[in-house]
């Protein structure tokens, strides 16, 4: 499981957690999120996210 970070606003997507309240189940890999998905905090496109190391 990886953690991804929005390069625009810093929002992190943790694959282990998912975003259940937004219909993305825990354990959903980033590549399995629909391509038209946007950062929930700032609206940046999925393509503009980046992967970050887990601390």
């Amino acid at each position: 499981m990886k953690v991804w970070q929005c390069i625009v606003c810093g929002f992190t997507y943790d694959e282990a957690q998912g975003i259940p309240e937004d219909g993305i189940a825990a354990g959903t890999r980033f590549e399995d999120i629909p391509e038209d998905w946007e950062c929930p905090d700032c609206g940046v496109a999925k393509a503009d996210f980046e992967m970050v190391e887990i601390g």
């Binding site: 390069i7 625009v8 810093g10 309240e21 905090d41 609206g43 503009d48």
Partner: protein, 385 residues
């Protein structure tokens, strides 16, 4: 000077400018783009400026791509460290410190300046504000060896910095003439909770007063408040709002109000000149947040690529970056009629602004209740339908 048949010139290199470039290149690989910027043009996340200290990030670490890399990747002619001094809307040229540049279409992504209060005292010029990456670098430098920080303003940016500074181990005083943090965004109950959470973390608030003067002292600085209190401090950070940079537009005769007035194609009163981001006022609204800026950049890119598009703002809740207490706020539109319905539980506060017919018009969620954001957001009306 002969410009190509279609040449796009963008002034600015913040998130708005680079997002227009990125979105336009997804639709149009060929139109020549020139980007003119007075700083170095590096791409960084501005929202992270107010929470980068406690994570130990330097200014350089916040740069996710250099301007040279961005320019290369997107086929942009970059004019960095270049000041734009005038726009000639008739000749379709801009004057710059590197000479004139012709455009067929011009995008103004000029941003906004931090508002500076006029303060008395022999150290008034020591007051900092953090509005871009260079400011952040200077702020970090001033914090070297400092222990106490006074923050002027308990709004969004003031509260975020206060939380970040306290988390980074500084002593923090926050001064604001209002009665609570985020006074313009939060109902009293939510403001009180945020104040409690930040106070418990160690932030000291001074409400109902303001900073009048900054004095130099042998051991640092002293902030003199209107009510006579004096706060010993090392660094003073001002966070009292933003003012769109209008001078260029006004001198060129473009219509301005609080921001540069644009329609929902982001056109100014000169149809081949566009504005977006913190400098722009869309349909009477200045919204200096990331989400509206991204929407505007996408709409503008599609418009520039010849698509018939109209800017639409969905509901855009603002996530306040205060780890001491999660806060999400979707303010009701100005002038909405309705009432706050507030439920406070152990998990947090769930405040909903509801119209007479039961429709949800806005909300504030704190603590665990913040996880309701995604669900509630779907039922909110669009900000610009």
């Amino acid at each position: 000077m002969i410009a190509p048949a279609q040449s796009l010139v963008i002034v600015g290199s913040g998130l708005a400018a680079w997002t227009v470039v990125r979105e336009l290149r997804k639709l149009d690989a060929h139109t020549p783009i020139t980007l003119v910027t007075r700083d170095n043009g590096d791409f960084y996340s501005k929202p992270m400026l107010s929470n980068a200290l406690s994570s130990g990030k330097t200014a350089a670490q916040l740069v996710s791509a250099t301007s040279a890399a961005m320019a290369e990747q997107h086929g942009v002619k970059l004019m960095a460290h270049t000041e734009v001094t005038a726009i000639d809307p008739v000749a379709c040229t801009i004057s710059t410190s590197q000479g004139a540049v012709a455009y067929s279409r011009l995008v103004l992504a000029l941003g906004a300046d931090a508002v500076r209060l006029s303060l008395q005292g022999d150290a008034a010029d020591q007051v900092l504000s953090v509005n871009d990456l260079q400011d952040y670098a200077a702020f970090r430098e001033r914090l070297q060896g400092a222990r106490r920080v006074t923050v002027i303003g308990a709004g969004l940016i003031g509260c975020e910095f206060a939380n970040d500074l306290i988390a980074a181990g500084y002593e923090v005083d926050v001064v604001d003439p209002g009665t609570q943090p985020l006074g313009r965004l939060l109902p009293t109950e939510a403001g009180r909770l945020l104040q409690q959470a930040l106070s418990q973390a160690g932030v000291r608030f001074y409400f109902g007063t303001s900073v009048q003067a900054i004095h130099a002292k042998p051991q640092g600085l002293q902030a003199e408040l209107a009510d006579g209190q004096r706060l010993d401090t090392d660094v003073v950070l001002s966070a009292v709002g933003l003012r769109p940079r209008l001078a260029l537009a006004q001198a060129a005769g473009l219509q301005t109000a609080r921001g540069i007035a644009v329609n929902r194609q982001l056109q100014t009163s000169q149809p081949d000149i566009y504005a977006l981001g913190d400098v722009a006022e869309v349909d009477g609204q200045c919204l200096p947040y990331v989400m509206p800026l991204m929407q505007a950049a996408r709409t503008l890119a599609a418009h520039l690529a010849g698509q018939p598009v109209t800017l639409r703002y969905p509901a855009m809740p603002v996530v306040v970056k205060t780890p001491a207490l999660a806060v999400v706020v979707a303010p009701p539109a100005a002038g909405s009629s309705g009432q706050w319905q507030i439920e406070a539980g152990t998990g947090g506060l769930d405040a909903r602004f509801v119209a007479g017919d039961g429709a949800l018009l806005g909300f504030v969620l704190t603590g665990k209740a913040a996880s309701q954001k995604a669900i509630l957001q779907k039922t909110l009306p669009a900000v610009l339908a």
